[in-house]
Amino acid sequence: MKYVDEFRDPEKAQALASDIRRLVGCIPRARRRPLQIMEVCGGHTHSIFRYGIQQMLPEEVEFVHGPGCPVCVLPMGRVDDCVALAERPEVIFTTFGDAMRVPGSRKSLLKAKADGADVRMVYSPLDALMLARKHPEREVIFFGLGFETTMPSTAMTLIQARAQGVRNFSLFCNHITIIPTIKAMLDSPELKLDGFLGPGHVSMVIGTRPYAFIARHYRKPITIAGFEPLDVLQSMWMVLKQLAEGRCEVENQYGRIVAEKGNPKALAAIQEVFELREFFEWRGLGSIDHSGIRVRAGYADFDAERKFQVPNIRIADPKSCQCGEVLKGVIKPRQCKVFGTACTPETPLGSLMVSTEGACAAYYNYGRLDAARGAPA
């Protein structure tokens, strides 16, 4: 496949891997403990496992799988809110596919659908808007989810809905923003991160400038990374090169997609429709200030939280779950008390076990090779 195979070339990968081994030898810290590099985005986690990238790296380098899977950080209470909305008889509840299996305290959306709620999987918020126009007698709610990657399409859909005068369409907004979250994690005392692979898709929208504080204040190198396996390897190489040379900068490996200033049109649409919430509850990480997004007053007619009685349920994470520690890289998925026993992809307790981008599901699905061979976690 053109523009894809070029980024999966095994020979280039071997060359990069051996250069990475050489670089690690030049970083004194790596002799005391493994370097911990966090890939913020779930898309990277997926690539790392799908292509077996960790096994190509020397033992002195570890990936820490960050919070950038929007499905994984969704708290149970929000899923309960979704189910409550979906169970209203007049509602067609539309959602991206992988949010359907996330467990709520009562049930998942998939279960709600089986129980008779009209839950439909869509591939774009525009599909949901189209449904609303097709069913004027019903109320169509779109479950807006994701970081800045998916925000522009949701924003554009609301702008279109208003322009078209659609009255029966609304958004249950659960968008979140990445920068306050990275900051909260960097402020966490348990954390021992050495550097970051920055999220490629988010950065396509917001550009590279918002990450400057990571290098400046926290003295950590960060490389904005693409999602093909060579992108990930090269980005890792770039972070290690910074560490070896004692630099802390924001570098952009994904230059073919990400511009320094981001995408101004997408940013304008976000600005038009959304504003920051004071705080938002994250699964495993607790409440993070200014990390959630809500619909502005000007679009109140399209805000499901204003239009319907959303129960706004708050449910504590299950006690046995250690999702937070996994998300912060304090423990590996396999070190969690319930990993692979009470919590499996078939019966997920924590949402990290649900999405294919979740660290636990990835460990479970792809990582058992190491376990089978008796390799360390």
Binding site: R8, A13, R50, P70, N365, R368, R373
Partner: protein
């Protein structure tokens, strides 16, 4: 099924003469009521297409001569499958081609010679009779190709909304030669794994045909009977250890079944797994794994290494196996696990699918 809304009767009933014509353009409850309308439907639509000496007497059951069965081997293979695909028609086939080739293939991969099929249909009130005719014509055509006779049947009509347009169940009977003994438990370390052609076409064709994706790609279902291919393979080697068609759950599921049942490990190489560029592209966009996509005319074989080249050549010489390829090997450890050497040079586990394969959001 609720007795009140269900109505129906055996197709093969009480010596009906083939004179009826269906006058309605759409199916209604009277077509399953056992009365004149149903008689006309059976005679016109089904008997016209499926006519054969076993079906024609129209008894409540088909009588299969044991002597003829015994000529083909020493064991009966018996299978059943229900078909509920949506949409009914898709590039490369329809629910009728699936209903025959799917059941034929379930027989064929045991090494059986497929001989007889049943055909039970659940029709939703309001279905166009013309649609039913098209499906029945497809069934007839594939049955002819596969050399099987449809010898008994049943028709039910349910109220609108109680079923989705048209469901079909087919059962199949075949006969296995004494010298053929294949099982998912027979894979041995050193064996070679062969795929009979490009994987994931059917799953991709259905996804695109559902038209929810606004994706354009010319991918047709691979829906086809595999009895001829299996016969060619069995003629080429006595050492085919495992054989299964890779339907729901795709090749990954079959490989896992082999690895678990035989308590061996299977290692495949991504580079050698035949997948169409269009299918790869659709999977890239949707975040799906082609190894888990359904096929309806592909099988996975585990063959003794010494015979592998010979079997592969025989497969490639058959139209249903022209793109067959060796995709991996069987090893002893780690038992029960399927791994794949990625084209990128890493290695990963290929697990069974959990739930439905849901597209990722970003």
């Amino acid at each position: 099924m609720n007795e009140v809304r269900e109505s129906g009767a055996k197709t093969a009933s009480q010596g009906i003469r083939r004179t009826g014509r269906v006058r309605d353009s759409h199916i209604n409850l009277s077509h399953g009521s056992g009365g004149k309308a149903m008689r006309a439907l059976i005679e016109d639509v089904f008997l016209g297409a499926f006519a054969n000496p076993v079906l024609d007497p129209l008894e409540d059951q088909a009588m299969l001569p044991l002597a003829e069965l015994a000529r083909h081997g020493d064991r009966l293979a018996f299978t059943t499958d229900s078909y509920v695909v949506d949409p009914l028609f898709f590039p490369g086939g329809d629910i009728g081609t699936l209903a025959v080739s799917g059941t034929v293939n379930d027989l064929a991969v045991s090494g059986a010679k497929p001989l007889f099929l049943s055909c039970a249909m659940v029709l939703e009130e309001g279905l166009a009779v013309e649609t039913l005719r098209r499906v029945v014509a497809s069934m007839r055509s594939v049955a002819g190709e596969a050399g099987v006779s449809i010898v008994t049947g049943d028709t039910k009509v349910v109220e609108k909304g109680a079923a989705d347009k048209l469901f079909i169940n087919t059962c199949g009977i075949g006969v296995v030669r004494p010298d053929v003994c294949m099982s998912a438990r027979n894979a041995r370390p050193g064996d070679v794994v062969i795929a009979s052609g490009v994987l994931g076409d059917h799953g991709t064709a259905i996804l695109i045909a559902r038209n929810q994706l606004a994706l354009e790609a010319e991918v047709a279902s691979d829906c086809q009977p595999l009895h001829g291919l299996v016969a060619a393979m069995l003629a080429a080697s006595q050492n085919i250890h495992c054989l299964r068609d890779a339907t729901r759950g795709g090749a990954a599921t079959v490989l896992n079944e082999f690895a678990k049942s035989s308590e061996v490990s299977i290692r495949i190489r991504e580079r050698d797994v035949p997948i169409r560029e269009q299918v790869k592209g659709a999977c890239e966009i949707l975040g799906l794994d082609p190894l888990f996509l359904a096929n309806e005319g592909k099988l996975i074989a585990v063959v003794a290494e010494a015979d592998a080249a010979h079997v592969l050549a025989a497969m490639r010489a058959h139209p249903a196996g022209a793109e067959a390829a060796i995709i991996g090997e069987v090893t002893a450890h780690p038992a029960g696990i399927v791994t794949m050497r990625t084209a990128f040079g890493g290695e990963r586990v290929v697990d069974m699918l959990v739930g439905e394969q849901l597209p990722r959001i970003c």
